[in-house]
C-alpha cells in the first residue's frame, strides 16, 4: 500500500470507511494494515510515544479476512473493516489484557468483553490494545507499569489518563474510533488533552462485562472518535442491554447519528457557575464562552445555573472509587491467573505478589479504600460519601427538571501538563474536578475540541440527563460543524 493510499484511508471517517468497505472499494485488510503501519511510523510503541502496548497482526489479518467474506455474503456490518483500538483493561481473547499492570503482565483473557464482541459482530477489526494508567487509576497515563505514554501533539506532555493511549491513538490518526473507560473522567480528560472527541455514556448504557473493574458503580466503557460522527457510530455499536451485566439498562438505543440533523432551536443550555470559578484559566473560559456564543447563534438559549454540591465531588469520588477498587482488586492474588511470587506460605505469596504486582498509586488507593470501609470508619467515610453523592446527583436532576436540556462546561481546568509535572497525588486528583461529577451522578457527558491554548487542545464538555445522549450529540454535531477548523486553532 502506498503512503497515498494510507493517507486516503486515514482521511475517511469511520462511516465513510465502512461504506467503502461495504462497496468493495477498500479491503478490510488494507485498512487494518494502514492502521498498524501508521502506528509503527509515528513510533506508537514502547521506544516512542508508548501509546500502544500490544498488537497481533496475524489475528488482525484473520479478522479482516473474515469481514471480507461476510461482505461478500452481503452481511458486512455497521463497522465493516473499521480498525479500532481498545484500552488495555477491556478483555480480548486475541490480545493481552494487562490493565497497565505487572500483576496481569502476559495475561490473555479466555473470554471477550461484550463490547469487543459487539465490535467484532459489527465487522470492526481490533488491531491493538492501548496504554493506560494502571487499573485506570490516574489522570495522565504516567502510572502505567509499562512506562508513561506521550501526547502525540506535544510529546513532552501527557496525553491525559487513564485512557491516554486510546485518546492518543485517535489523535495520531491510527484509528477513527477507540474504546477507553471512564470512572472519574478517564475518557473525557484525555480527549480534551489530545484534541479528540470523548464520550462517557449514561451509567448502565454500555455493558461492563469484560471491563476490568476499578469502581463498579462509576465505571463505563467510553468511546473516542476523531469526529463526533465517529464517536456516535462507535457508541451506537456497543450500547444496549447485556444480560451478562446486572447494572446494564434496558433503555432502547436510539440512532445517535440521526442527531446530526438536529436543530438547536429551543434547546436550553445551562452554564453552571461552579465550573467557571474565578481562578479558571481565562483563556479556557474564553474558549468555552465562545462555544456558547456559537450555540446561541444556532438557536440555543444559554442560562446560568448552579450545581451547588460540585465542590464536594472530588472528596466523594476519592472515597467511593478507592473503596470499591480495594474490593475489586482483591481477586489479584496469584491463585488463578496473573503474576505469582513466592513468599512465606500462602500469606507470603499474597503479599509478595501484590506488593510487587501493584504500582504505588494502586497501592495507595487500595489502602485508602480499605481504610474508609474498615470497622469504625465505614459510616464516617464511605456511607457519608455515598449520601453526599446523592446530593450531587440531585443537583443534576434539579437542573434538568428546571427546563435545562444540557450543560456546557470546560472539560479540564488546564490543557495537557508536562510529564512529571504533578507529583503530589492530590494535585493529580484535582484534574478530575470538572469530569467526576458526571460519573458520580451517572449522567452522560462528552468532550470535544473547542480550540487551542498555547497550541495545546482545549476541550468543551456537554453533560446531558440520563439516557439523553442524543441531545448531547445533537449539540456536539452542531458545534463541531460551526467551529470547523477553529476547533483546532
Amino acid at each position: 500500500m502506498t503512503p497515498n493510499d494510507r493517507a486516503a484511508i486515514g482521511a475517511l471517517s469511520a462511516a465513510e470507511l465502512r461504506d467503502r468497505v461495504a462497496a468493495g472499494d477498500v479491503s478490510p485488510r488494507s485498512a487494518a494494515e494502514a492502521s498498524l503501519d501508521r502506528a509503527s511510523e509515528i513510533g506508537a510503541w514502547r521506544d516512542g510515544l508508548n501509546i500502544l502496548l500490544y498488537e497481533n497482526r496475524d489475528d488482525a489479518r484473520r479478522q479482516a479476512e473474515d469481514v471480507a467474506r461476510r461482505r461478500e455474503r452481503g452481511d458486512a456490518g455497521s463497522l465493516a473493516g473499521v480498525p479500532v483500538i481498545l484500552k488495555d483493561n477491556i478483555a480480548t481473547t486475541s490480545l493481552p489484557t494487562s490493565c497497565g499492570s505487572r500483576i496481569l503482565e502476559g495475561y490473555v483473557s479466555p473470554y471477550d468483553a461484550t463490547v469487543a464482541q459487539r465490535l467484532r459482530a459489527a465487522g470492526a477489526v481490533i488491531v491493538a490494545k492501548s496504554n493506560m494508567d494502571e487499573f485506570a487509576m490516574g489522570s495522565s497515563t504516567e502510572n502505567s507499569a509499562f512506562g508513561p505514554a506521550k501526547n502525540p501533539l506535544a510529546p513532552a506532555r501527557v496525553p491525559g489518563g487513564s485512557s491516554g493511549g486510546s485518546a492518543a491513538s485517535v489523535a495520531a490518526g491510527l484509528v477513527r474510533i477507540a474504546l477507553g473507560s471512564e470512572t472519574g473522567g478517564s475518557v473525557r480528560q484525555p480527549a480534551a488533552f489530545c484534541g479528540v472527541v470523548g464520550v462517557k455514556p449514561t451509567y448502565g448504557r454500555v455493558s461492563r462485562y469484560g471491563l476490568v473493574a476499578f469502581a463498579s458503580s462509576l465505571d463505563q466503557v467510553g468511546v473516542f472518535g476523531r469526529s463526533v460522527d465517529d464517536a456516535a457510530l462507535g457508541l451506537h455499536t456497543i450500547a444496549g442491554l447485556d444480560p451478562l451485566d446486572s447494572t446494564s439498562a434496558a433503555e432502547p438505543v436510539p440512532m445517535y447519528r440521526d442527531a446530526a440533523r438536529g436543530s438547536l432551536t429551543g434547546v436550553v443550555i445551562g452554564r453552571p457557575k461552579e465550573y467557571f470559578p474565578d481562578d479558571l484559566d481565562p483563556r479556557i473560559r474564553d474558549k468555552c464562552d465562545a462555544s456558547l456564543a456559537v450555540l446561541e447563534s444556532l438557536g440555543a438559549e444559554v442560562r446560568e445555573v448552579t450545581l451547588p454540591h460540585t465542590h464536594l465531588a472530588i472528596e466523594v469520588y476519592y472515597i467511593v472509587a478507592p473503596a470499591e477498587a480495594s474490593s475489586n482488586l482483591a481477586r489479584f492474588d496469584g491463585v488463578r491467573y496473573g503474576l505469582r511470587l513466592e513468599g512465606d506460605g500462602l500469606r507470603g505469596m499474597y503479599e509478595a505478589t501484590r506488593s510487587s504486582g501493584f504500582g504505588p498509586e494502586v497501592t495507595r488507593r487500595i489502602l485508602l479504600g480499605t481504610y474508609v470501609l474498615s470497622a469504625g470508619y465505614y459510616d464516617a467515610y464511605y456511607r457519608k460519601a455515598q449520601q453526599v453523592r446523592a446530593l450531587i446527583a440531585r443537583d443534576f436532576a434539579d437542573v434538568f427538571k428546571s427546563g435545562v436540556h444540557l450543560l456546557f462546561t470546560p472539560t479540564t481546568p488546564t490543557p495537557a501538563f508536562e510529564l512529571g509535572a504533578k507529583s503530589d497525588p492530590y494535585e493529580m486528583y484535582l484534574s478530575d474536578i470538572f469530569t467526576c461529577t458526571a460519573n458520580l451522578a451517572g449522567v452522560p457527558a462528552m468532550s470535544l475540541p473547542i480550540g487551542r491554548v498555547d497550541g495545546l487542545p482545549v476541550g468543551g464538555q456537554f453533560i446531558a440527563n440520563h439516557f439523553d445522549e442524543r441531545q448531547m450529540f445533537a449539540a456536539a454535531y452542531a458545534l463541531e460543524r460551526q467551529l470547523g477548523a477553529g476547533a483546532h486553532a
Binding site: 483493561n89 477491556i90 478483555a91 489484557t97 490493565c99 496481569l104 495475561y107 483473557s109 479466555p110 473470554y111 468483553a113 461492563r208 462485562y209 469484560g210 471491563l211 476490568v212 473493574a213 469502581a215 463498579s216 458503580s217 444480560p243 451478562l244 451485566d245 446486572s246 447494572t247 473503596a323 470499591e324 480495594s326 474490593s327 482488586l329 482483591a330 481477586r331 489479584f332 492474588d333 491463585v335 488463578r336 491467573y337 500462602l346 499474597y350 480499605t370 470501609l373 474498615s374 470497622a375 465505614y378 464511605y382
Partner: protein
C-alpha cells in the same frame, strides 16, 4: 479439653444456644452464573469467568435460587422483605476467588420467623425465633492432603446458592438444638429446596453457645463452634464446649469470645488458630448488583404454592383419618413423599388404617431392602390400593397378598395379574380344598392321627401346611371348617 464430667458444674448452669445453618439450594445452575451445580464433576470443570473471578466478570442472579430462598423463608414463618440488598464480605482465602463473598448484610431477604421444635409437658409449644434468612454464594473447596506441601483448590462449589438461617439464642440445651435441626431439616425437605444432608455438605451448622447460672437473664459470653459433620456431632460438641465453659465460670474465670473447632475423632473442641483482633469484613452493598425487589404478588404466589408443611399435615391427618394412631401419623408425615403415597392409597382403597399398616410395614421394609425412594417406588399407590381391595373382597388371602406384594415390588405389575399368574387367587372351591386337606393329612400321618383323635391344638399347624401347599391361596376360613369336620372321623 476433656470429656464431660460429673454433673456438678453443669447442673447449676444453663446452656444457651443459637444456631446458624447454611443450606445449599437445589438449583440447576449456580447463584450468579450458569455453571452447573452437579456433584462429582472433575475439579474445576464447572467453572466460568464469573465463578473463577476472572478480570471483568460480573454476577447475574438466578431467579430459581430466589424462589427457593423465599419458599424456605415463608416455610419458617419469616417476613420476606420486598427490598433486600447483596453485600460484599471481604476476606482473603484461596477458595474465595473474588477475595469477597457475595452475601447479604444489613438488608437480608427475610426476618423474624418462628420454628416450633417441640411441646412442653404442659402442652405449650417450644418455639425458636428465627432472626433472619439471607442468600449468599458458597465458596470452593480447599484440599490440604491431596498433594504434599500444597493446598489444592477446586472451585466447582464456588457460587452454589446458599441460604443462611440464623436463630436467636433461644435453644436451651443440646437436646433442643437437636430438635431444632431435625425440625428444620424436615421442613426444608418437605418444601423441596435442598437435599439437606450434612453428610453431603448441603446442610452445615455453626453453633453459638454460652453458659449462665440458672435463673440469670443476661446472656453469657458466647463462643462459636464449627466443624460438626452430623447432628450427633453437634450435640456432642455442644456438650463438650458447655462443660468447658462451666468449669471456667465455676472457677471464677471469664469466657473468651473465640471460634472453637470440633474434633470428632478426639471428642474435643479446640480454639481455631487466629490472629489478634476480630474479623473486619468491611461489608458494603455490592455495586454490581442493584437491590433485589420482590413484588408482593410473587411472595403471595409462592406462599400459595407452598407445599403442606409437616405440622399442618400432622394436624390434618389427625382430623381426616381418625382411625390412625399418633404413632402412625408420625411415621406417615416423616417425609413429604410418604404422606402423599399414603393418602393416595387411603383414598383409592377407602381404608386408611389398613393402608397405613401396609405402608408402615411392608412398603417401608421394601424401600429399605431395595434402596428405593418412595417417590420412585416400583409399587404405584393405585396398585397397592387394588391389592387392599382384593384382600378385602376375599379374592386373595392376606398371606397370599404378602406374596403378591413381594412380586409387585420386583416386577411393578398389577396385583390382579400377579395373583392370577401365580395362582394365588383365593381358592374357595371345596373340591380343591378337600384335595389339599387330604394331601396334607396323608403327608403328616402322625399329626393327622393325633388331630383326628381329638388334639385340636394341632389344627393351626395343619391349616398352615394347607396354606403352604396352596401357596397361600386356600381360603383359611374354609380350610379350618373342613379340617374341623374331620375330627373324630
Amino acid at each position: 479439653m476433656s470429656a464431660p464430667t460429673a454433673a456438678a458444674a453443669t447442673a447449676t448452669f444453663e446452656m444457651v444456644v443459637g444456631l446458624e445453618v447454611h443450606v445449599q439450594l437445589k438449583t440447576t445452575t449456580k447463584i450468579f452464573c450458569r455453571c452447573s451445580t452437579d456433584f462429582g464433576a472433575p475439579p474445576n470443570a464447572n467453572t466460568c469467568p464469573v465463578c473463577l473471578a476472572l478480570p471483568g466478570a460480573l454476577p447475574v442472579l438466578n431467579a430459581h435460587a430466589v424462589d427457593l430462598a423465599i419458599r424456605a423463608a415463608l416455610a419458617l414463618g419469616c417476613r420476606v422483605q420486598s427490598t433486600s440488598v447483596f453485600a460484599r464480605k471481604n476476606y482473603f482465602y484461596p477458595d474465595l476467588p473474588k477475595g469477597y463473598q457475595i452475601s447479604q448484610f444489613d438488608r437480608p431477604l427475610a426476618l423474624d420467623g418462628l420454628l416450633r421444635i417441640g411441646t412442653r409437658p404442659d402442652g405449650s409449644p417450644i418455639n425458636t425465633r428465627i432472626t433472619r434468612v439471607h442468600m449468599e454464594e458458597d465458596a470452593g473447596k480447599s484440599v490440604h492432603d491431596r498433594f504434599a506441601g500444597v493446598t489444592a483448590v477446586d472451585l466447582n462449589r464456588a457460587g452454589v446458592p446458599l441460604i443462611e438461617i440464623v436463630s436467636e439464642p433461644d435453644l436451651r440445651g443440646a437436646r433442643e438444638a437437636d430438635a431444632y435441626l431435625r425440625t428444620l431439616k424436615q421442613i426444608l425437605e418437605f418444601i423441596d429446596v435442598s437435599d439437606v444432608s450434612m453428610e453431603k455438605g448441603s446442610l452445615r451448622v455453626d453453633a453459638n453457645i454460652s453458659a449462665r447460672r440458672m435463673g440469670e437473664t443476661v446472656l453469657g459470653t458466647k463462643t462459636e463452634v464449627k466443624n460438626m459433620n452430623s447432628f450427633s456431632g453437634v450435640t456432642r460438641a455442644l456438650e463438650v464446649e458447655f462443660d468447658r465453659q462451666c468449669r471456667v465460670l465455676e472457677a471464677g474465670g471469664r469466657i473468651e469470645q473465640q471460634t472453637m473447632l470440633w474434633d470428632a475423632d478426639a471428642g474435643e473442641v479446640r480454639p481455631a488458630r487466629s490472629k489478634e483482633g476480630s474479623h473486619d469484613y468491611r461489608y458494603f452493598p455490592d455495586p454490581d448488583l442493584p437491590p433485589l425487589i420482590i413484588p408482593l404478588e410473587r411472595i403471595d404466589r409462592l406462599k400459595r404454592e407452598l407445599p403442606e408443611l409437616p405440622a399442618a399435615r400432622r394436624e390434618r391427618f389427625r382430623a381426616e383419618y381418625p382411625a390412625l394412631a399418633p404413632y402412625d401419623i408420625e411415621v406417615l408425615t416423616a417425609g413429604p413423599g410418604i404422606g402423599a403415597y399414603f393418602e393416595h392409597v387411603a383414598r383409592a382403597s377407602g381404608d386408611p388404617k389398613t393402608a397405613a399398616n401396609w405402608i408402615m410395614g411392608d412398603v417401608l421394609a421394601s424401600l429399605k431392602a431395595t434402596d428405593q425412594s418412595i417417590e420412585h417406588f416400583s409399587v404405584r399407590p393405585a396398585d397397592l390400593a387394588e391389592l387392599l381391595d382384593l384382600v378385602r373382597d376375599g379374592v386373595v388371602s392376606l398371606t397370599a397378598a404378602k406374596q403378591v406384594f413381594a412380586l409387585m415390588v420386583k416386577t411393578g405389575d398389577r396385583p390382579s395379574q400377579i395373583a392370577e399368574r401365580e395362582q394365588l387367587l383365593k381358592v374357595t372351591d371345596d373340591s380343591a380344598l378337600v384335595a389339599w386337606v387330604d394331601e396334607v393329612l396323608a403327608e403328616h400321618p402322625d399329626e393327622a392321627r393325633r388331630f383326628i383323635g381329638g388334639e385340636r391344638r394341632l389344627q393351626g399347624v395343619l391349616v398352615g401346611h394347607v396354606m403352604k401347599k396352596s401357596k397361600g391361596s386356600a381360603d383359611p376360613k374354609r380350610v379350618n371348617q373342613l379340617l374341623g369336620a374331620r375330627i373324630g372321623t
